[in-house]
Symmetry: C2
Subunit: 203 residues, 2 copies
């Protein structure tokens, strides 16, 4: 038995795209399991008085160019510029929490990011949400109804509290055996960390 790596993410974070698209393959190659853990980054940022380079135009401009170059490096299609900033992301992340509970979170999250980065459908809005749910093999009517319940809203809040408790401050983040890794460019480090543990302590 090996422990999974927790993949903490918020739909709406641009750099998270590069992790979402590459994580399944990198983890599978290393034989490492991943738990997809959606949380509400905006709630944490608001509390920390932080934000997505909001008042840092140079960093924001750099980010898009960096994402473009790295996507090319990894062979990921993108069609920049894409819609940004985004409106309310709560529903998209509530759907992700429900999807994680039901076992179709990776398919849904990959779909919503591809629609945002390739089809230029804003994440967090329709038609992106419903189409991504469908791509994951689910019924949008059922899912959207359930994602609007207080129970799912509470589940997202609980996940966010848990993220905060373990000092997560950005998306994407990875936690392997209590070690926190931040940023899509630490994906390999996190998976390798767990892989090395697994090698040293075979079940």
């Amino acid at each position: 038995m090996t422990a999974p790596v927790d993949f903490w993410f918020s739909i709406g974070s641009p750099y998270t795209f590069l992790a979402v698209m590459r994580l399944p393959e990198v983890a599978e190659r290393a034989g490492v399991d991943v738990r997809w853990r959606p949380f509400d980054l905006r709630a944490i940022q608001a509390e920390a008085n932080d934000g997505p380079f909001a008042d840092k135009p140079l960093k924001a401009a750099y980010m898009w160019r960096d994402i473009e170059r790295r996507a090319a490096k990894f062979g990921l299609p993108v069609r920049l510029p894409i819609p940004y900033p985004l409106a309310d992301l709560a529903l998209a992340n509530r759907v992700a929490v429900l999807a994680a509970k039901e076992g179709w979170c990776s398919a849904y999250t990959i779909a919503t990011y591809r629609r945002w980065f390739v089809d230029r459908e804003p994440a967090g809005s329709e038609p992106n949400i419903s189409r991504s749910i469908e791509e994951a093999g689910q019924d949008p009517v059922r899912v959207l109804k359930q994602a609007s319940t207080g129970a799912v809203a509470e589940a997202l809040n609980a996940a966010t509290s848990e993220a905060k408790k373990i000092d997560i401050f950005g998306s994407p983040s990875f936690v392997a055996d209590g070690e926190l890794f931040w940023g899509h460019d630490r994906l390999e480090d996190a998976i390798e960390w767990q892989h090395n543990l697994d090698q040293g302590n075979p079940g």
Copy 2:
């Protein structure tokens, strides 16, 4: 003839350690030349109302753990915690500007970072500065006298203005054929960018 990659850095930036220590080897392996370009990051940050995670304790704590892990990954000795934050860094960076003009900037910068990260001598203060100058084969008396002239202070200001003009906002940064790469974790990307250009345009 191939163009060099410009390596823009400020002594005092913690993450810059990981670039300073690895750059010579990575660049040499790729057959890429590097120009060491010291600048005054604090001047740029002050103007942009930015800073080294000053009011972001979670990010700061994460940074040190991340540096520790990455140093281990790269086989670089470090003895954390090291002195931080640092006092005035202007003289250390003026010496770097003078060293760049005279051709011993990499030796001096590597020495000052090793003394800070391994010997725990604060960068920017004595004895770190004089010993690092000596390690680079220079006479501290001569260098410190010259680094205190207005001409060298102006050279650092001019380099900082040039950095600002090309939208540099952090250290370390790399510029390859006009492409800006930010962060020690983009070192390979920057060198590869120039290397690929060189391959496509030999001689």
